[in-house]
């Protein structure tokens, strides 16, 4: 249960991060990509989502 909560919160945090970064990139191109790739955030977000689903299914 504890692991599920941690992964869920990471997933939520990455969702908000991804959304904010995309909005920032839309209005100010390269403001985020100058420092790190949005693809990296997207991959982490997908991975956290998959892990979250797997844990939920397992429980």
């Amino acid at each position: 249960m504890k692991l599920y909560i941690i992964i869920r919160e990471i997933f939520y945090a990455l969702t908000i991060t991804l959304f904010i970064f995309i909005v920032m990139e839309f209005f100010f191109p390269d403001i985020v990509q100058a420092y790190f790739s949005l693809n990296f955030v997207l991959i982490l977000w997908i991975l956290s989502g998959i892990v979250l689903l797997l844990i939920k299914k397992h429980d």
């Binding site: 504890k2 939520y12 945090a13 991060t17 390269d30 403001i31 990509q33 420092y35």
Partner: protein
């Protein structure tokens, strides 16, 4: 506090800090930001040297990269505009190239404003030196006490060499014969100029006569862009007249050469002196002929003989101390005669040079579609050659052979670096140059810089190079508070 709340507190705080950091970096509220890069880094802000063909492999152990051919370029990407860039290079070189310059793109036609990074010819001179407001005068024998005295009593023209300093132009030609005095020319304008390709600039001279030129253009229609032509007349560096020929032909798809129209330039009641005429056009435009009554028609620094498969012999008169030839057309490869010395134009897309060190040089070509360039002027008849500018220092300048006694420049061996940092640390040198970014061309958040090392050719037999260890750029501009004050 529950576990979920604790994690949320941490993650949201981290996200807020990240967003604040990104905004702070993009806005640079203090109006200052510094970017540094070594060739090993993949920086978003200072991009890699290009093109790849002119740079060597990165040496990973020391993080250095050699430049093997010139020019090379690098872009500086900034989220906002700045007013000034102080660019510091840590570099070393093989010692074979006398001049290293760095420039900033000034306009969309890819003109770069160059500044000297190193000039070994000046570094080697052990002459008496005067300095005043960033201007340096070197004298073989100390004759002038200050630079103003020198500027007010300029010695003979052939004794002076200028480097990154604009001396006032010569105003008048002594004994100039006006075109109105030549009856034949008055009756029929002459056309000495063969077809020319692309943009060019030339000097003409007016004395009690109208300025009269008729240009006929054609369009090669090789590229699909609009091929407009703009002609600007300058007097003492100020534009006094302008003509525009818009491309309304729409024949780009057929890729067929077609007539592009004519432009007449007629200006009366002009004061005596040199006039500069700039024809701004892209490489699709051929100036088929220039009909004029003017005696002086001297092309500045470069002419591209535009005759396609034209095998007429062309004679060019020049005052450049070194003549450089290049071509993009394999059919134009030939041996050019420069003062009867052979200059083989053996490859396309490569420059071939021959020093002349003479005030009058004759260049003979058998085939057209060749670019002839040099630090001076070029004309197509002997009496059309006149240059109001003082001689400029180039990579092969030899003050002893050319009997130069005075050198005026804005270059100092330490540049804008502190004397302590400009001293070489081993082979590595550190030099700083400032650029005014308000006059720069900025495209898609990028400022474009050039590193020019005249004579450094990739793929030639010479083992010469300039090796870059790091580039540091300090950008300064308006602070956030200045911007707010402007709005209020």
């Amino acid at each position: 506090m529950s576990l979920a709340l604790k994690i949320r507190l941490v993650s949201h705080s981290a996200l807020s800090l990240m967003v604040l950091f990104l905004i702070y970096q993009a806005v640079a509220p203090a109006g200052k930001i510094i970017y540094s890069v070594t060739p090993c880094d993949n920086s978003f802000f200072i991009q890699k040297l290009k093109p790849k063909e002119r740079v060597g492999e990165i040496e990973r152990a020391n993080c250095t990269q050699p430049i093997l051919g010139e020019p090379v370029y690098f872009n500086v990407n900034t989220q906002r505009t700045f007013n000034e860039a102080r660019v510091t290079f840590v570099y070393r070189d093989s010692g074979q190239n006398n001049i290293i310059e760095v420039g900033l793109q000034a306009d969309e036609r890819k003109n770069y404003a160059l500044k000297p990074l190193e000039n070994k010819i000046i570094n080697r001179l052990n002459w008496s030196t005067l300095e005043q407001d960033g201007v340096i005068l070197l004298q073989r024998e100390p004759k002038f006490k200050n630079i103003n005295e020198f500027l007010n009593n300029l010695p003979a023209r052939n004794e002076i060499l200028a480097y990154h300093y604009d001396l006032p132009q010569i105003k008048y030609i002594e004994g100039y014969q006006t075109s109105t005095g030549l009856l034949l020319r008055q009756l029929a304008d002459r056309n000495d100029t063969p077809p020319l390709r692309g943009a060019y600039q030339f000097y003409t001279y007016i004395k009690n006569e109208p300025l009269n030129f008729k240009f006929n253009f054609s369009d090669l229609n090789i590229n699909k862009d609009k091929d407009d032509v703009k002609i600007i007349v300058y007097y003492r560096n100020e534009p006094i007249a302008e003509k525009y020929l818009a491309d309304e032909r729409s024949g780009e798809e057929q890729r067929q050469r077609m007539a592009a129209g004519a432009v007449n330039l007629n200006l009366n009641d002009l004061p005596e002196g040199f006039y500069k005429i700039a024809v701004i056009a892209d490489d699709d435009i051929i100036t088929d002929d220039i009909n004029t009554a003017q005696t002086v028609v001297s092309f500045i620094n470069r002419v591209w003989l535009g005759g396609q498969n034209d095998k007429n012999k062309t004679i060019i008169y020049a005052d450049a101390p070194e003549v450089t030839a290049s071509t993009l057309n394999a059919a134009s490869l030939q041996t050019i005669l420069v003062n009867k010395q052979k200059l083989p134009l053996a490859e396309t897309y490569r420059q071939f040079s021959l020093p002349t060190r003479q005030n009058k040089t004759i260049v003979q070509l058998e085939i057209s579609d060749v670019i002839i360039s040099g630090a001076g002027v070029f004309s197509f008849s002997a009496n059309a050659l006149a240059n109001p500018d003082y001689k400029k220092m180039i990579k092969i300048s030899d003050v002893d052979a050319e009997k130069v006694n005075y050198l005026i420049t804005t270059y100092s061996p330490c540049g804008e670096s502190d004397a302590s940092t400009c001293r070489p640390q081993g082979e590595w040198k550190t030099k700083t140059i400032s650029f005014d970014l308000t006059k720069a061309f900025r495209y898609q958040n990028n400022y474009s810089f050039i590193i020019s090392v005249p004579g450094l050719i990739a793929g030639d037999e010479a083992d010469d190079y300039v090796e870059i260890k790091s580039i540091n750029i300090k950008l300064t501009g308006k602070s956030l508070w200045d911007k707010i004050k402007e709005i209020l």
